[in-house]
């Protein structure tokens, strides 16, 4: 079993936290993993990405080869498109929040961006921001998206919840539950499709 994941977004949107949660879960499961991230200058409002590779065999490259990514998990729709060259075009999934994060003057029309995402064979595009907001956790978008993606991750959602507990545990039960609830709400979206 192997699964190659790209998590992406804009600096500060929590893409790297999602990566940390999946990694933690994979480690608990005794899988081999490699997780490459963007640090430094790019984090200042630029595009950030993480290549996360899980396998029951040893992994060679830190980067996912072109055309072999199983799932792109994005908190922002245009960012999901940026990594399409990595996607397995037949079997790969794109799971993304539908609301643009606009911090550049030439951001394309939202509908055109979403149309491009929907052109991908397997995709879920949904309003994760709204779900997070309705839960009273406006910063929880990344967890909602991760929840939706969890259906295709080959990792039990309980394992992800345990990982959330171990990563956010020191911040208190309230933070842990807010994240877990966001995760579950995202999963419901995927389960309904």
């Amino acid at each position: 079993m192997k699964i190659d994941i790209i998590l992406c977004g804009v600096g500060g949107m929590g893409a790297l936290s999602s990566a940390a949660i999946i990694s933690q879960a994979a480690l608990e499961m005794g899988m081999y993993m490699k997780q490459a991230e963007t640090h430094g200058m790019a984090q200042r409002g630029g595009d950030v990405q993480s290549h996360l590779r899980l396998s029951d065999k040893e992994i060679a490259s830190d980067l996912i080869p072109d055309g072999q990514c199983d799932i792109i998990i994005s908190v922002e729709p245009m960012e999901a498109l940026r990594y399409l060259p990595f996607l397995n075009k037949e079997e790969g999934w794109v799971i993304t929040n539908e609301n643009p994060f606009i911090n550049i003057p030439n951001y394309p029309e939202k509908e055109e961006v979403l149309a491009e995402v929907r052109k991908v064979k397997n995709s879920i595009v949904f309003n994760a921001d709204k779900i997070a907001l309705d839960l009273g956790n406006p910063k929880g978008t990344n967890m909602v998206v991760l929840g939706a993606a969890s259906k295709y991750l080959k990792i039990d959602i309980e394992k992800l919840e345990n990982a959330i507990r171990s990563i956010f545990g020191k911040k208190g039960e309230e933070v842990v539950m807010a994240n877990i609830n966001a995760l579950r709400a995202g999963r419901e979206v995927a389960d309904k499709i």
């Binding site: 640090h39 065999k57 490259s61 072109d66 245009m78 991908v120």
Partner: protein
């Protein structure tokens, strides 16, 4: 057996702690920053009394590391690749002095320039200085190699370089660590009292000793076992895969076996006998290097009259940028998978100054203050404020190397292009700006130097700045007149005053310093969060 999930950088730091490190010395720089940070945050390191504060710059850091080694203890130095340029003087000469306690230099390169201004390959430095170089291909190897590097350093009495790149530094993986940490060395001065006195008479002798060690270093590269030869039947191509390149090669053979012989090299000097076997048995050689074509060039020779050597020089691999599984696969003529193209509507999203950043207010004031002058007179430097080059600010005209703002502004002013203005960050100023300021004062050049004081080294993620609380006294001490050291607060509400201050100092026909002072917001938020957590704990 304990397995930790660690970044390559963290694996190196943990290994150093476990290998009996007494001190780490460095200046922040992507992708090396997390190495000292890990040790600064480690309870274990604190208990062991391992020193880990940031230095002013890479040169002072490396010299202090050399001093700790002189006193017999194990020391580590870290920097990003361009930091090697700053530390080049102690670096080259430390190969001549040799070491006493184990001394390991970590050079973190950034091919593809994710967060850098060039993609220089630090292995050239190691090769030039003729010291052993290790180039781990994964996090576990990085951990193991730090232990070995200290042993090798003490065995050969030489500093050892470990060269890593962004993909290893900032990639996390499970690492098995040794828990039987080595005790720190005791203070013990070098046996030869002349070892560190590089008078020509001593230096000549020491240089000959360095030359004499080379054969044994090659033997170590062959015998240690990090370098491996994998034989295979198809000798039309033999593959020399260095460091991380080996991973990209193997990624192409997850389902099948590579039919060509492979020499994996992660320890230099080059294991001559292993390479000779590859060269003699194969019709052509494909050289895979993550970085610049150092060994490809050496193997090819100036006249390139031997066997066919393929790699970055002949275009088999693109000349610039980091490697990838696909680049390597294509070089071998393999069918590589492809994803979907990026839709044309996808716009680049470059990094930018944060919302409410103090630098933004300074740039708005500066732009207005110089609006009546012709363009092209703002010399800037390396840091978050480099982003002032981008819209909407378009505020600066140069960014070259740490400290170059002040000295380039000086040179341009001396060419008759006046007024000139330098924009430099607080930490960059104490890194390499102070000596340039002294040049300005000594020559009494009319330049205006804006030292952006956000009280932190911001770009690399909020490291303590050596400049904090010292800038005015440094400038005054260097000889800038007190009334021309002006402190302003970069906030919208002070915009008009700030513009006026900048204009007044530009008009002054001497050296003036303006210090816009306001804390970095990322840092401020981090600090407040930490305080809140501390408070919560106390409750």
């Amino acid at each position: 057996m304990e397995k930790l999930l660690l970044l390559g950088d963290e694996a190196i730091a943990q290994a150093a702690i476990d290998a009996g490190l007494s001190g780490i010395f460095g200046y922040p720089g992507t992708p090396s920053t997390e190495i000292p940070e890990y040790i600064q945050a480690s309870k274990e390191a604190k208990e062991k009394g391992i020193r880990s504060n940031w230095a002013c710059n890479e040169k002072t850091a490396m010299e202090a590391a050399l001093g700790m080694s002189y006193a017999g203890k194990r020391a580590m130095f870290t920097c990003k690749h361009v930091g090697m340029n700053v530390a080049a003087d102690p670096f080259m000469n430390s190969a001549i002095t040799g070491v006493n306690g184990g001394l390991v230099y970590i050079a973190a390169d950034d091919p593809s320039m994710h967060s850098s201004q060039n993609e220089q390959d630090s292995r050239f430095f190691g090769d030039w200085a003729m010291i052993p170089i290790l180039e781990p291909s994964n996090q576990q190897e990085a951990y193991d190699m730090v232990h070995y590097a200290f042993e090798l350093s003490e065995q050969f009495k030489l500093p050892v370089m470990i060269r890593i790149t962004t993909r290893l530094a900032h990639s996390r993986s499970g690492v098995v660590i040794r828990r039987n940490a080595k005790e720190q060395n005791k203070v013990k001065l070098p046996e030869n009292p002349k070892q560190y006195i590089l008078l020509p008479v001593n230096a000549r002798r020491q240089y000959n000793e360095l030359l004499a060690k080379q054969e044994d270093m090659i033997k170590a590269s062959t015998q240690k076992g990090f370098n491996q030869y994998f034989d295979a039947p198809d000798k039309k191509i033999g593959i020399l895969a260095c460091g991380l390149a080996y991973n990209y090669l193997m990624e192409n053979f997850t389902q099948t076996k590579c039919q060509h012989p492979i020499l994996k090299v992660v320890q230099y000097p080059m294991p001559k006998d292993m390479l000779k076997k590859l060269y003699e048995e194969c019709d052509s050689i494909l050289v895979l290097e993550e970085g610049q074509p150092l060994f490809e060039q050496q193997l090819q020779g100036i006249l390139n009259k031997g066997k066919k050597v393929m790699g970055r020089l002949d275009g088999t691999i693109p000349r610039a940028g980091e490697l990838s599984p696909a680049k390597v696969g294509k070089a071998l003529g393999l069918q590589v998978s492809e994803g979907l193209p990026i839709p044309s509507l996808v716009a680049p999203r470059p990094p930018k100054l944060c919302e409410g950043c103090p630098h933004a207010d300074t740039y708005r004031a500066l732009n207005e203050a110089v609006a009546d002058y012709s363009k092209g007179r703002i010399f800037s430097d390396i840091g978050c404020y480099t982003l002032g080059a981008l819209p909407p600010y378009n505020a600066i005209n140069t960014t070259v190397d740490m400290g170059a703002s002040i000295t380039m502004a000086k040179g341009a002013a001396e060419a008759g292009y006046q007024p000139t203005i330098a924009v430099i960050g607080d930490s960059t100023f104490t890194h390499s700006g102070m000596t340039g300021l002294l040049d300005c004062v000594v020559d009494n050049i009319p330049v205006t130097i804006i030292i952006l004081d956000n009280s932190i080294t911001a770009m690399t993620g909020s490291q303590k700045s050596s400049a904090t609380g010292r800038i005015e006294s440094i400038c005054e001490g260097i000889g800038v007149e007190k009334e021309h050291i002006r402190v302003i607060t970069p906030l919208k509400k002070f915009h008009e005053e700030n513009v006026k201050v900048i204009q007044e100092e530009i008009a002054y026909q001497g050296v003036s310093v303006i210090i816009p002072r306001r804390e970095c917001l990322v840092w401020l938020n981090k600090k407040r969060k930490e305080e809140r957590q501390k408070q919560k704990k106390q409750e």
